[in-house]
């Protein structure tokens, strides 16, 4: 039996396919784009190809992320908070605090015994998100994926005082013009994002283990900055983008196995692997 999780985030669409022994058979990360209503199924098709499976062999599909509505090939929609908590706690059973930094939102999750019990989220502001790093990388003329290694060379991080993306960009550019070393500016940017995220997550009363996921978790500079502020180690999964989709697949697996154990029919929807329309 196979289970798929589809996580349609603001920037990236992620699909993970697992089997009943929780082995990952295939996973794909593709851009979400403005046409995600039409194109989400293409990412799914790619994941099926990678796993050498037909759609009919997928027993259950759970959709999550901000684009989770309008996924005609999903059996169920579950919020990204519940899916992330499930994914992270499967990978790290000792997790108590999970932080996910995505393209346009930041989530802090309190997890007890594998269950989500409380959460915080940013709203209406890109400060402290992947978008913040993209804007700053662009202003500094470096690739966003290089920020982490650049910042590790810093010996004296610059002080980026603003938490507003636009003002922080101005500050960074002004440091550049003053001749401040690039690595110090980048380290300052990471410190700013970490302050913002940690300030928000502290409301949950942070306890270890702390796990960081989302695209920004690939940036070692941000991971170190968060560790410094929290005063504890921050764990990062091998592929931090996939924990939401993985959690969604795990929830689908749980629903099916529970139904089978009770001898009940699997609560499927009338799913179709095709593009969404406004009338579906």
């Amino acid at each position: 039996m196979y289970f798929a999780g589809v996580d349609i985030g603001s920037t990236m669409t992620k699909v993970v396919i697992i089997d009943e022994s929780v082995r990952i058979c295939g996973s794909v990360v593709g851009p979400t784009g403005a046409e995600h209503r039409r194109l989400a199924y293409k990412v799914m098709e790619k994941a099926l190809q990678e796993s050498a499976l037909s759609f009919e062999r997928i027993c259950y599909v759970v959709a999550t992320g901000y684009g989770r509505l309008n996924v005609p090939f999903a059996d169920k929609q579950v919020t990204e908070l519940t899916c992330h908590a499930k994914g992270v706690s499967t990978l790290f059973p000792g997790v108590r605090t999970a932080i996910d930094i995505g393209g346009q939102d930041v989530k802090g999750m309190k997890i007890i015994n594998g269950e989500l019990v409380d959460f915080v989220m940013n709203d209406k502001c890109a400060a402290g998100t992947g978008r913040f790093l993209e804007v700053l990388a662009d202003a500094l003329g470096v690739r966003v994926e290089d920020l982490g290694s650049i910042s590790l060379k810093s010996s004296r991080k610059a002080d980026i005082s603003s938490i507003c993306t636009i003002f922080a960009q101005q500050e960074a550019v002004s440091y550049l013009s003053q001749g401040t070393p690039l690595e110090d500016i980048v380290a300052g940017v990471h410190d700013a994002i970490a302050s913002r995220v940690v300030g928000m997550v502290r409301k949950l009363k942070v306890e270890p283990d702390v796990v960081l996921t989302g695209g920004v978790a690939k940036n070692i500079g941000v991971v170190r900055a968060i560790e410094e502020k929290l005063g504890c180690k921050v764990l990062v999964p091998d592929n931090p983008l996939l924990s939401g989709a993985f959690g969604a697949a795990m929830l689908g697996r749980k629903i099916v196995l529970e139904a089978l154990a009770k001898g009940e029919p699997i609560p499927r929807s009338e799913r179709r692997l095709k593009e969404a329309t406004f009338f579906s």
Partner: protein, 396 residues
């Protein structure tokens, strides 16, 4: 679709009246004004409504409008303050409150105080009164507040041109107490599973009551309660019974959103809700004593700091929480609340101070809660929907 279909319960005749008053709040007061009555606008919960009723003036609660973009108020008020009060002022500046004969405002919070002053600076009314309301419940504060109510009384005496007769005030207290009693009866209809009336319906009832004279409100409530009892079919069973706590909610869309994704909102700690009605006025030999106590101590808005257990020398956080929020325990037990949504408009420091403590208290009671912040606009509701859905997933 993800959302449960929102089943619209069969609307009753009294409920049609409620709907009408929600579509156009001024429909009744404008008729009364045409017949010679004077309409007095009031802000928040602390203006003493019995006084207005005793002088045969019609109280009309000033509310904002989430659907109207704030354009005028930002020229005379900083933008980083309570968006509800900015909206109220904006409506006033756009002459949406020009039909009022007078306005009573009060020192609810700092923003409320300054907003009242700006309102008065820009708009002319035949009657204006600003009540100074202490922020603690210490005995000297109570004495001072009673004096303030006396001042309010004399200002009304000069406006109306006659002295207040004590029996008129006592009659008014009885009328308002009757409304409080009827509201508690209405809330009893939220206790069964499923409740007989939805959370968004109750909010609409309370908005209607804040738009008509108290005696007409009592009549409306009596009819509503009978009709809700007889209502068929019953409302559908929902996933979770929630209570909402926090700053003013004067638009049904927030509660409709919660009920649309599978919750039943069965109880509230809101100012268009229990805070406005829960406590009655005790009939004291001098009615002003009962009024002062009810309006200063009885109203559970966090703008007033309770005289807490911390007031004793030894610090005891648990006792402090119990003292300040013990009433929530009975709301939760009697209404069988499974989760609490704490919500506030942005920049509300009054509620912001309270959130960590309320969360701690609820955790102690073993009741899950989340905190949501919004900027008093329809646009801020969509991201909140995911949070509410995630909360319902936690409660499952």
């Amino acid at each position: 679709m993800l959302e449960d279909t929102l089943v619209i319960a069969e609307k009753t005749k009294a409920f049609d009246k409620v709907k009408e008053l929600n579509q156009e709040r001024t429909v009744r007061v404008k008729q009364l004004k045409a017949a010679g009555k004077k309409i007095i606008g009031y802000l928040c919960l602390h203006p003493v409504l019995e006084m207005l009723t005793a002088f045969d003036l019609v109280p009309f609660r000033v509310l904002g409008d989430m659907g109207e973009r704030v354009t005028r108020a930002d020229t005379c008020m900083p933008p980083m303050v309570c968006p509800f009060l900015r909206s109220c002022l904006d409506l006033a500046l756009k002459d949406k409150y020009a039909f009022l004969d007078g306005v009573v405002m009060a020192h609810i919070c700092d923003v409320g105080e300054r907003m009242a002053h700006i309102w008065r600076t820009y708009k002319e009314y035949n009657y204006f009164y600003f009540m100074d309301v202490p922020h603690t419940v210490h005995p000297p504060a109570l004495d001072a507040f009673k004096e303030e109510i006396k001042g309010f009384q004399s200002s009304l005496e000069s406006f109306v041109g006659e002295k207040l007769r004590v029996e008129k005030l006592e009659e008014a207290i009885e009328l308002h107490n009757e409304q409080r009693k009827l509201i508690r009866e209405l809330y009893d209809l939220r206790k069964p599973a499923p409740p007989l009336i939805t959370g968004s319906e109750v909010l609409q009832v309370i908005i209607a009551l804040a738009s008509i004279p108290v005696d007409e409100g009592n009549e409306l409530l009596r009819r509503l309660i009978t009709e809700v009892h007889e209502r068929r079919p019953r409302l559908p069973e929902k996933k979770a019974r929630l209570m909402i706590w926090g700053s003013v909610v004067d638009n049904v869309s927030l509660i409709e959103m919660m009920e649309g994704v599978g919750a039943s909102v069965v109880m509230d700690d809101l100012c268009l809700g229990t805070r406005a009605y829960w406590e009655s006025v005790e009939m004291t030999p001098d009615p002003l004593d009962g009024l002062a106590y009810r309006y200063l101590v009885g109203i559970r808005c966090p703008r007033t700091l309770r005289e807490t257990a911390l007031y004793r020398n030894k610090k005891d956080y648990a006792a402090d929480l119990e003292h300040r929020f013990g009433y929530l325990r009975s709301y939760i037990r009697e209404w069988n609340v499974k989760g609490v949504i704490l919500q506030s408009v942005k920049y509300c420091d009054t509620h912001g101070y309270e959130v960590p403590a309320v969360k701690d208290y609820l955790q102690k009671l073993g009741v899950p809660s989340i905190y949501l912040e919004h900027d008093y606009s329809y646009g801020s509701l969509a991201p909140l929907r995911t949070r509410v859905q995630a909360f319902l997933e936690i409660l499952k």
